[in-house]
């Protein structure tokens, strides 16, 4: 295997595995910047995956190759609706954020599989016919060397995710909305005194996390698992949560952490094809991503600081 082919294999599979984590961890960042802890990312991803697969199976013949991209929208909408449950519970009904997030995680696979059984009569769907596969980005893929490595035969959703990461960074740190969102996450009382609508801002934070988490789930379903079952989303949401914390509640940080997780996951998958990693026992490749995360977290990052009012309900004085 030539060096070029090797790099290209590792990069493209890294992007495939990173994409869902990037979307979802940035979603979590929006929610937590607004002060609502979102342990429910896993469940939201599950609903996104469910919706995209049902959409894909139903409309593949109508929309052809555009189906997976429209499936992302289906996942986003359902993810957003599902996250409203978390928003209502935490913002309006003053529920503990961890409890509500756990409910989301318990509810999603149960509801998804229940509906799949009602719709298709069995616990998992057939494989979808239109998946993301590999795309070449027009123009960029013709750049010598770099184009071939990064933009030819690559994961389309991953590049969308990278674009979303940059956009989210801009929104959170450079716009009025972002400043307001961060202020209700740090000190809701002060924000309220200045006339901001704390509840509305927190709702929007959670809903954005639902939207992006739903997209994340839809990406997993339509580029990795290619069907929906109870085991489509197992742990990716928690990995995304870790990426969010790792990235210090900053979209660019979350992007970096997600790419790191994606790289180590892809090494576990394609490692066997790579000279040099061939002889490493597979167990080491399997646990490497998780072990590395712990080591990096402990030695290079140390204390992580969440937004100050993260997870604290704001009860307005009557």
């Amino acid at each position: 295997m030539s060096l070029m082919a090797m790099f290209s294999l590792v990069i493209s599979s890294t992007l495939v595995y990173s994409a869902p984590l990037i979307f979802t961890s940035i979603g979590g960042t929006f929610s937590e910047r607004g002060g609502v802890v979102n342990v429910g990312l896993e469940g939201i991803m599950g609903m996104g995956a469910f919706a995209s697969v049902v959409f894909n199976l139903t409309f593949a013949s109508t929309f052809g190759a555009a189906t997976p991209w429209l499936g992302l929208i289906a996942g986003a909408v359902v993810g957003l609706l599902f996250s409203l449950l978390h928003a209502v519970a935490t913002v309006t009904l003053r529920a503990d954020h961890i409890i509500s997030g756990t409910v989301i995680n318990l509810m999603a696979p149960a509801l998804g599989v229940f509906l799949i059984k009602v719709l298709y009569g069995k616990g998992q769907t057939v494989p979808i016919s239109q998946d993301f596969g590999y795309t070449s980005i027009p123009g960029l893929s013709h750049i010598p060397v770099l184009g071939q490595l990064f933009f030819a035969k690559t994961s389309g959703p991953a590049w969308l995710a990278i674009f979303v990461a940059v956009l989210s960074w801009y929104i959170i740190f450079k716009t009025k909305f972002g400043l307001r969102l961060r202020s209700v996450g740090e000190n809701p009382q002060a924000a309220d005194t200045l006339g901001l609508n704390v509840a509305r801002l927190r709702y929007s934070g959670v809903m954005i996390s639902g939207l992006l988490g739903g997209i994340g789930g839809a990406v997993v379903a339509q580029s990795i698992s290619l069907n929906y079952s109870a085991s489509t989303i197992v742990g990716q949401g928690f990995m995304a949560m870790a990426a969010m914390i790792f990235g210090r509640w900053n979209p660019i940080g979350a992007l970096g952490a997600s790419l790191f997780f994606g790289l180590s996951q892809s090494l576990a998958v394609v490692g066997a094809q790579l000279p040099g990693l061939k002889n490493v026992p597979s167990i080491w490749l399997q646990i490497a991503p998780y072990l590395l995360t712990i080591i990096v977290l402990v030695f290079f990052f140390g204390k992580t600081r969440a937004p100050k009012a993260d997870g604290v309900n704001y009860i307005k004085a009557a």
Binding site: N105, L106, F114, Y290, V298
Partner: protein, 378 residues
């Protein structure tokens, strides 16, 4: 006292509302909710064997829920209960199979201690990393879940001696010297896989309650959880307590895994994902509302739903997943207890209003009768 009474009524209403939501979903999708719930109760209480299964299901949940509660009391979110349980399970089964000739009175206590210790070790690591380096225990426990899952499967597939395995994916059954199953219990429950584990779990409720509320150690853990700075100022070591609280939490999870291995399954087999008892235990702890008796009641409700749900598809056609939706809804209402309190307040206000208007009417009646004698006033 009133707070306790309140949380009890919240739990009661939550269960009720959760079941109602389940019934509505069954109606919407064209199933008969009455026959659905009858099937559920039938397969949870239909025979002694069913009751045995409910108790078997309860056992690890009580322990993992206790574990979650202890960590939460100290201010930690131990999401790694599944991995810690797995550590205990693999370790205890491997140990039991490696010494088939050890007498039971040595084997059983040492296996229990080993499994508990492995779980405690698996969670003391994140506790220590948090205390020493400030690394988020949430991330570390999530990562350790995966590490322990892959290690457990790898030990089974590549490290364990061929002689103690049935196939590449399953170990042999542990011998009578290590089994926690008791003949009279098995006979009583018509061959369910209930074991002495249930008594251990019940005992641990008392032990954990005692440690957490009656000892200095428990006091310190609670103090650190309430306000780490204040506890430090009072001369308590936040670091030591972090490690100890996490170790107790993981030890209980490890014990749960050990009992799954030596009591319920009697072997270890390749796991496709982290054992469900970890996350289910979290749910039980949340439903129990942090109280030790609450954990017992919540584990019972949870297990009745789980075991009962298994019988629903057969006799009423309702997919098994319905019970998970019901469980999630119940916990939703527990979390959103403000809603239930609001409803209770509303109802109370309505009662009072009704009582007032009734009283006013009565007064008006009496008033009109004695009108002549009144000379105004309030």
């Amino acid at each position: 006292m009133t707070a306790q009474k309140n949380s009890f009524s919240v739990a009661l209403f939550s269960v009720l509302f959760g079941l109602i939501i389940g019934a509505v979903i069954m109606l919407v999708f064209g199933y008969n909710p009455i026959s659905g719930y009858v099937a559920l109760l039938g397969s949870a209480f239909g025979s002694m064997q069913d009751i045995g299964s409910v108790l078997t299901q309860m056992t690890p949940l009580i322990l993992t829920a206790l574990g979650f509660t202890v960590a939460q009391t100290a201010g930690f979110f131990n999401i790694g209960l599944s991995g810690q349980a797995l550590a205990g399970w693999v370790g205890a089964v491997w140990y039991a199979l490696s010494f088939p000739d050890m007498p039971a009175y040595l084997m059983i206590p040492s296996a229990l201690i080993l499994g508990t210790g492995l779980g405690a070790l698996a969670s003391a690591i994140p506790g220590w990393l948090r205390a020493q380096f400030g690394a988020s225990e949430v991330i570390v426990t999530i990562m350790m879940n995966y590490i322990l899952l892959f290690l457990g499967n790898n030990i089974l597939q590549n490290t364990m001696a061929k002689g103690i395995k049935d196939s590449a994916e399953t170990t042999k059954q542990v011998g009578a010297n290590a089994s926690l199953q008791m003949k009279w219990l098995t006979d009583l429950t018509q061959g369910s896989s209930i074991s002495a584990g249930i008594f251990i779990a019940l005992l641990m409720i008392v032990v954990v309650w005692f440690i957490m509320t009656k000892t200095t150690l428990g006091f310190e853990i609670r103090a650190v959880g309430l306000n780490a700075d204040a506890a430090k100022y009072a001369g308590m070591s936040a670091k030591r307590n972090a490690v100890v609280a996490m170790a107790i939490s993981g030890g209980l999870a490890g014990l749960a895994g050990t009992i799954e291995g030596l009591g319920n399954y009697l072997n270890f087999f390749t796991q496709n994902g982290s054992p469900a008892i970890g996350f289910d235990g979290m749910a039980v702890a949340l439903l129990g509302g942090g109280s030790y008796l609450g954990v017992l009641a919540a584990a019972a409700i949870f297990s009745v739903l789980k075991i009962g749900g298994l019988g629903m598809p057969m006799s009423s056609g309702v997919p098994f997943e319905l019970v998970d939706i019901v469980t999630a809804s119940i916990i939703f209402f527990v979390g959103a207890s403000y809603l239930i309190q609001l409803i209770q307040k509303r109802v109370q206000a309505m009662d009072e209003k009704a009582a007032q208007t009734a009283a006013a009417k009565k007064a008006a009646k009496v008033g009109s009768a004695t009108d002549k004698n009144q000379k105004g006033g309030e």
